[in-house]
Amino acid sequence: MSIPATRPAIEVAGLRKSYRSKAGSQVVLDGVDLVVPAGTVTALLGPNGAGKTTAVGVLSTLLRADEGTARVAGHDVAREADAVRASIGVTGQITAVDDLLSGAENLRLMADLHHLGRAAGRQRVAELLERFGLTDAADKPVATYSGGMKRKLDLAMTLVGTPSVVFLDEPTTGLDPRSRRTLWDEVRALVADGTTILLTTQYLEEADQLADSVAVLHGGRIVAEGTPAELKAVHAAGSLDDVFLALTEPPAGPETDPRTETDEETVR
């Protein structure tokens, strides 16, 4: 598939974000630059606490950046938040379903909030239940769903409004191998329809399988970016696991300052 000559679906430049608390301020994103062409999948990798969820939060209008710009689907996330929201679908790291309602009711809620109308809404709900294998459980309360079923419903809810840009924050955590593959197929189908996807994951095989491009976030910056094959070649590594380990060695990324370098040597 060809990448259209329109502007990228996600453009991030110089993004900075820190969390302030009584204990002081913690810099999480320290100048992130990222471009995701429309109709492609980018996997955002990084160790726990690297700021992947924070980055998704800024791009999905949940969090405000301190500095830098971010455009999603051509709209500025800070100044045109509503236009961004109308174009995106977000599956956050925390499953976002209403436990007291049934699966079908959760999807109906999304259809109503997207103003799909009765007939179209009902059709969309049935279609998504089918696609995610939830038809049998459709009328059961979500509280009785397994973790994996909730996650699938979560994803289905994200897709009700046919978003053009989809954020998936560790979408397959807790899914069994078959469900994970079902989800991969869903992602591929979405991309085939022209949807742009930014996903974070800790399963590097997932990034290898799905991503057109991989970006590694570490120490508040993107420390490496490229296709899975390019990254493996550059780091002379057999798997993305090795690339990940090489790039994200604690306590800091490639631009380690001399002191920590010596510290590390003494430890060895």
Partner: protein, 278 residues
């Protein structure tokens, strides 16, 4: 191939009423699926009704209605005195349940999901408030029904009932907005359920269960100046058919409700817009 088109979709922030209606329906559905929360709202006032009337009523009656004999006559007088207070407490109890559900929404991801959607801002909270107001009315009917069942006889005429409905609706809206804010402000669902407890205490520190004239100086001063005293006096006066009710009390009650409601609304709105802290 669908390219990214740089046009603002028509629905961005589009249909506030439809969104509020959708969120309202969600909350009604939750209340139906999980009736425990509504029952929990009713049980407190019902237990208090029985406890206060049958245990304390015989002795307290003389304190609220001079000249009444202890025993059955006192119980009847005390029932008349506290039923209005219990109605007000019922509304506050419903506030506790909205605080819990707001905190649950914020703790789970669903509120974050709503925030990333192009729905009209505030519809998530307004829907919850509307749902709670309906829940309050159901609870009020149950509590008032129980009071009537054990012998309470309101003296209100049609106009009084209408005015009463208006005051209780206003109170329910105001308390709901305040409690949504308390729920969003809480760090966990547990603290959210405790936050409105202070509101449940206020009727006791006012004209709810004994006349304020019987209280010692500083407590009495507080009782005379806190919002629940004029609110309870208004409800009590309307149920008594307007006996002993003056316009100033009603005005105070209405002003307090509006103040609580507006403050709660503004606070809730800013909490909803704020980034979620850990």
């Amino acid at each position: 191939m669908t390219a990214i088109t740089v046009t603002a979709p028509a629905r961005a922030g589009g249909k506030p009423l439809a969104d509020v209606r959708t969120m309202f329906r969600r909350n009604l559905l939750r209340a139906v699926r999980y009736p425990g929360l509504t029952l929990f709202v009713v049980v407190g006032p019902l237990v208090m009704l029985l406890l206060f009337v049958y245990i304390f009523g015989g002795a307290f009656g003389a304190g609220v209605a001079p000249g009444v004999a202890p025993g059955a006559e006192g119980r009847a007088a005390y029932l008349t005195y506290i039923t209005p207070s219990l109605l007000v407490l019922t509304v506050v109890g419903a506030g506790q349940s909205i605080a819990i559900s707001a905190a649950m929404d914020a703790a789970g991801g669903i509120m974050a999901r709503f925030k990333t959607m192009a729905i009209s801002p505030g519809s998530a909270l307004s829907g919850q408030v509307l749902g709670t107001v309906v829940q309050s009315i159901a609870a009020l009917v149950l509590v008032l029904g129980a009071a009537v069942a054990i012998g309470y006889r309101p003296q209100a005429d049609a106009v009084d009932w209408l005015a009463l409905l208006g005051v209780l609706l206003l109170l329910a809206v105001a308390i709901s907005w305040l409690c949504v804010a308390l729920g969003l402000n809480a760090r966990s669902v547990e603290t959210a359920s405790n936050a409105p407890l202070i509101l449940l205490l206020l009727p006791f520190l006012g004209s709810g269960f004994v006349p304020v004239e019987t209280m010692p100086g500083p407590v009495r001063w507080f009782a005379e100046h806190q919002p629940f005293t004029p609110i309870i006096d208004t409800v009590r006066g309307l149920l008594a058919g307007g006996v002993g009710l003056d316009g100033a009390t009603v005005a105070k009650a209405v002003v307090w409700c509006v103040l609580i409601g507006v403050a709660g609304y503004l606070w809730a709105r800013s909490l909803y817009r704020r980034e979620r802290r850990v």
